[in-house]
Subunit: 397 residues, 2 copies
């Protein structure tokens, strides 16, 4: 038995961690919102990370992976507005230059960098290092930190759980994340920083983080399309003596699941979140492939925006997804409403009007039972609006 | 040696073929435009077809495939506004009922049906058979026929070539097609009907049609996503004694290539056509996969609409496409302008302003040289505009 208690002010609750975010002039539209942030610990931390599967990993990801396996760190530096991606060896040199400047200011252990923004431009070393004069290194400014890492996000994303164990010991886990480019979820960079004071072994960190990302961020990252910078990084400083693997896993999974849903909710220009559940598949791969195809289909997404219960687009997308399927066995439901089966192929007026009500909801499920096997998978998607096109046509300039 | 002569009035030029299109009340927004059409031959024709790879093939496609292999036909009936897809056995029964009514009016050999429109509703047999009272079966109304098969198309698509051979004999090949849902090209149904009076052997018909579709319609059908109804059907009545395999292949390929480019040009709400050329790939599969990923990427498509020379989205999409690639070897060009290479990663002002000029063109190429091998493939795509979202959010209602 254990209790999860949700706490406000996210990162500030975790013992031994400090954070701040400042504006150094890269985010010009709102000088009150930061563009560079740090998260640091008084004590050396073990660190685990899950990075993008994009072959062109950005410089900060390459920089991280040049540290020895199982290295420890006590400092992450994060910037918005520039991804430091496709910048070659220079991009890595720039990170080293930045950290040399930091080292003159204070001693840090194997510092990590994380970046999000436009691809293909060198970092402004001068602007980023100017943050070192502005940071309050002993602050716990969770709010400023969460705001500093935003790009097209319309709201900040942060969560914290205090986990109380049976023996009345407790630990804390907190995270901030950013991401909103939700049409093709992972293409707009998703960053997530998780910190904990739990007394978690490094092997558990690696195992649980990977599992947790697969059941959260990777269910909205539907087709392997990922940005050059996507990163989930977890630091543990073990300032609390408490740890319980099961409790930690539950807390971590809830944290990542809720944050991933917040990202989807903040989908650029999107108005609704839809769970695409594919069940009755012959294999897990089939279920994943079909649900990813649904959450990625432009015709499905525009039908969601138009609130048109056009199940033909659902069926056609399933049929085109390359998986084993049979029109005679397919059953489509919106929430619990039967939309299509061989026996009831035509949407009568009563069901159509019920479907219209469901489609006006902020979130609902579209379930496709293939009737062929026991495997299922759920991907999450959102609608495609005029606003999405506007945001992405105008972004950068 | 042979000459290709482009003729106006498409289908009307092919000896022994007749066609007409009429409005029977399914297309209510414009009663002057037909919604049912036929193409027929006085003489029995050999017929070849390439159908969608969608697992849920619509009733007309199933109906066709129930004829014996190498059957002959002299009649195609085509309707817009209703795809007769996901209608089960009833959909096929309805086609048989329609053709029984036709048989009372005139004798036809193994008639074929082809449909496009909304999925999941039964055909109106009464409306469609009412066309048999309105058709002029001896007409050569190519224009009306081409217009009758349109759905979201903004213009009709038809072409005809007269092929003059060295011995001064000649044959004619003509086609009409429809299709405009170009974001995910084949999802909005693509239909193409090709007729010829050439004295072509059936084995050449099958071979050349498949090859021709692969180098035309399948280069805009980028990711295997296909509608339930996509069909390319070719009929040959051999009313001309003339035939030359090489000349026929050239004429057929030009016909399908130009028609597929017209479909792309008519992309729903699209303003420009872009050739995504991937070369230097380790395998043909890699080249196809990367170029399809580019032409399908929402972030690329919105950048095209915004006329933003954001090559980062190009690089990121290549990196995420799952193929072998190396940032140090990648070279990106817009037309002949170098946009990215390891040596010139940053777009200076001069090149950026040149890139801006290229991106304002109605058509241009984006070429990615992977520098890893000898394989190349070109897919064609278009931009994503507000208008696309509007068309697809509102379609059906």
């Amino acid at each position: 038995m254990f209790n999860l208690i949700s706490l406000k002010n996210s990162l500030a609750n975790v013992e031994g961690f400090f954070c701040d975010g400042v504006n150094v002039g890269m985010r010009t539209d709102n000088p009150d919102q930061g563009d560079v942030a740090f998260i640091r610990s008084d004590i050396a931390c073990d660190v685990s990370a899950v990075f993008t599967s994009n072959k062109f990993q950005a410089a900060p990801l390459q920089h991280y992976q040049r540290y020895p396996k199982d290295f420890q760190t006590d400092f992450i530096l994060i910037n918005a507005k520039n991804a430091n991606a496709m910048t070659g060896e220079r991009g890595i040199d720039d990170i080293n230059t930045i950290f040399k400047t930091l080292a003159k200011k204070r001693s840090v252990l194997n510092p990590i960098m994380s970046s999000t923004g436009v691809i293909g431009y060198p970092l402004s070393i001068e602007k980023i290092t100017s943050a070192f004069e502005k940071f309050d290194f002993d602050a716990k400014h969770a709010d400023k930190t969460a705001k500093s890492i935003m790009t097209t996000d319309s709201f900040q994303k942060e969560l914290c759980f205090k986990v109380e164990l049976e023996n009345s010991s407790s630990f804390t886990i907190a995270a901030i994340c950013k991401g909103a480019g939700m049409i093709n979820p992972a293409m707009a960079t998703m960053l997530c920083f998780i910190i904990t004071d739990a007394n978690i072994p490094k092997s558990d960190m690696d195992e649980l983080l990977t599992k947790s990302v697969n059941q959260s961020f990777n269910t909205i990252s539907v087709d392997g399309d990922t940005s050059t910078n996507d990163s989930v990084i977890m630091m543990a400083n073990r300032q609390s003596q408490a740890y319980d693997k099961e409790a930690f896993e539950v807390a971590l999974n809830r944290l990542t699941k809720e944050l991933s849903q917040l990202i989807l909710r903040d989908g650029e220009g999107s108005n609704k979140v839809v769970a695409f559940e594919v069940k009755g598949a012959q294999s897990l791969a089939d279920a994943k492939q079909a649900s990813a195809a649904l959450s990625n289909s432009l015709l499905v997404k525009t039908a969601l925006f138009g609130e048109d219960p056009n199940w033909g687009r659902i069926a056609s997308t399933i049929g085109a997804s390359g998986i084993a399927c049979d029109a005679d066995k397919l059953i489509i439901k919106y929430d619990n409403l039967l939309i299509y089966s061989k026996e009831f192929p035509v949407l009568d007026e009563e069901r159509e009007s019920k479907a219209n009500v469901i489609m006006k909801k902020e979130s609902f499920s579209i379930s496709c039972d293939l009737g062929l096997g026991d495997f299922s998978f759920t991907s999450y998607g959102c609608d495609l609006s005029y606003e999405y096109v506007k945001i992405n046509a105008d972004y950068r300039t």
